[in-house]
């Protein structure tokens, strides 16, 4: 151990060997004080009102896992296990409603708790404390980074999955009569989904040799001008394949959007609701629907 150095003296950065020696000492300290440091940390988490979605037992259990992984990362200098743990943890807690600031918050609290315990232990040897901190800080920062980034990446992955699922909710193209297709659209349409719907519809027209298509947008609350334009293009492209499009279920907001953006309404065949649309389609196709007996009794 070297003499304590004055603050103004330039201190040489520790050599790699010295750093590992210091880290080993640090890890030993953290293992020895595992119980009280974990408890201190869990206490601080509750005081900071973090992880409110979880019970005390759950917080302590997770705190234990994080602590042990943290110490192991400090010991081995490798972060793969920590990354895997961070992703696993995120996968579990994201559905519980845990937010990014909470995850970042608890990791920083752990960093503080451990740093404080180092201050307490090495308060009599300022020079050694500095060297220990020199070894500790980069590793601790990298750990905080790894856990936070792991959490955020997991959130982004979840969001992408949900977006894909929404896109696939996309619209079955349904044949309800010979030459008649229905395309019921539900939810939020962005220009990309709109283009996907158009391609799906055009292929459906060709496959089913449809002459009339009813596009029902009752389930669509609003539409911006980009999507409205794609809708108009869908109508025009369907005509090129010999099919007539009837659009049904326009909400007042969408009606307003279409008029505001100056859609050529002569090109758009619209009917108020799906029932009306199907009746109009049947008329165009030459069907006449007649009820010739009472409804069948239920057996």
């Amino acid at each position: 151990m070297s003499k304590s150095s004055e603050l103004t003296t330039v201190v040489m950065p520790p050599s790699a060997a010295e750093t590992s020696e210091l880290l080993r000492e640090l890890v030993a300290h953290l293992r020895k004080n595992r119980t009280q440091l974990r408890q201190e940390w869990a206490k601080r988490i509750t005081e900071a009102k973090l992880l409110t979605a979880m019970s005390q037992e759950e917080i302590f259990a997770e705190a234990t896992s994080v602590y042990d992984n943290y110490v192991e990362a400090l010991e081995t200098g490798t972060f793969e296990a920590l990354q895997a743990y961070a992703r696993n943890l995120s996968e579990r807690i994201i559905p519980r409603g845990v937010e990014t600031h909470e995850v970042v918050g608890i990791v920083l609290l752990l960093r503080d708790v451990l740093a404080r315990s180092l201050f307490a232990k090495y308060q009599h040897d300022f020079g050694l404390l500095n060297r220990i901190l020199d070894a500790y800080e980069p590793a601790a920062n990298r750990i905080a980074n790894t856990v936070a980034v792991g959490f955020v990446q997991e959130r982004e992955r979840t969001i992408r999955q949900q977006q894909e699922a929404i896109r696939e909710l996309s619209t079955p193209v349904l044949q309800v009569r010979e030459r008649l297709l229905i395309l019921p659209i539900i939810g939020v349409i962005d220009p990309q989904r709109a283009r996907q719907l158009t391609e799906q519809l055009l292929r459906g027209i060709r496959t089913n040799r449809a002459k009339v298509v009813v596009i029902d947008i009752t389930g669509v609350a609003a539409m911006d001008s980009n999507v409205a334009n794609v809708l108009v293009q869908t109508v025009e492209a369907s005509r090129l394949l010999g099919a007539t499009v009837i659009v049904t279920g326009l909400s007042p907001e969408i009606a307003q959007t279409l008029v505001t953006i100056g859609v050529d309404l002569a090109k758009m065949n619209t009917v108020g609701d799906l029932q009306g649309g199907i009746e109009e389609a049947e008329r165009l196709l030459g069907y006449k629907v007649v009820q010739f007996s009472d409804a069948m009794p239920q057996t």
Binding site: L202, I205, R209, Q233, A237, R239, L240, L241, G242, A243
Partner: protein
């Protein structure tokens, strides 16, 4: 129309007669000259055979540019002036999508999914006309 030495091979599109209708089937993309030759040929033959309908089948086309779209529109108008109805058939979904994005809507030109459909529709129109005593 004389060819000006275009790199693409000039292709004659055969015009087939089927009853009262003329049918022209594209085998591949046509040069501008070929399109104009076809237009000329169809307009001429409508008169010669007193055809009631012209069907242009573009199933083999995987792209339709603005010159082709304009030529087909002009063809439909010219043919109508000579007493016949034109149908463009076989536009592929991807081609239709690309066309509307470029604003090529073939407005005023009748379209149908395929040859069978066009003949059916033309038959109905022709019959309708006969019934009305034209």
């Amino acid at each position: 129309m004389l060819s000006n030495g275009d790199e693409r091979q000039n292709v004659e599109v055969p015009i087939l007669k089927q009853g009262h209708y003329l049918i022209a089937t594209f085998q591949a993309a046509l040069t501008d000259e070929d399109l104009l030759k076809l237009q000329e040929g169809l307009v001429g033959q409508v008169g010669k055979f007193r055809s009631r309908g012209v069907i242009v089948d573009v199933t083999a086309l995987d792209v339709m540019d603005s010159f082709a779209a304009r030529t087909l529109r002009a063809l439909a108008h010219m043919v109508r002036l000579r007493g016949a109805e034109t149908f463009i058939v076989g536009i592929q979904p991807e081609v239709a999508f690309a066309m509307v994005q470029l604003g090529l809507t073939l407005e005023g030109v009748s379209t149908a999914l395929d040859l069978e459909e066009a003949i059916y529709l033309l038959d109905r129109r022709v019959k309708g006309a006969k019934v009305r005593g034209k």
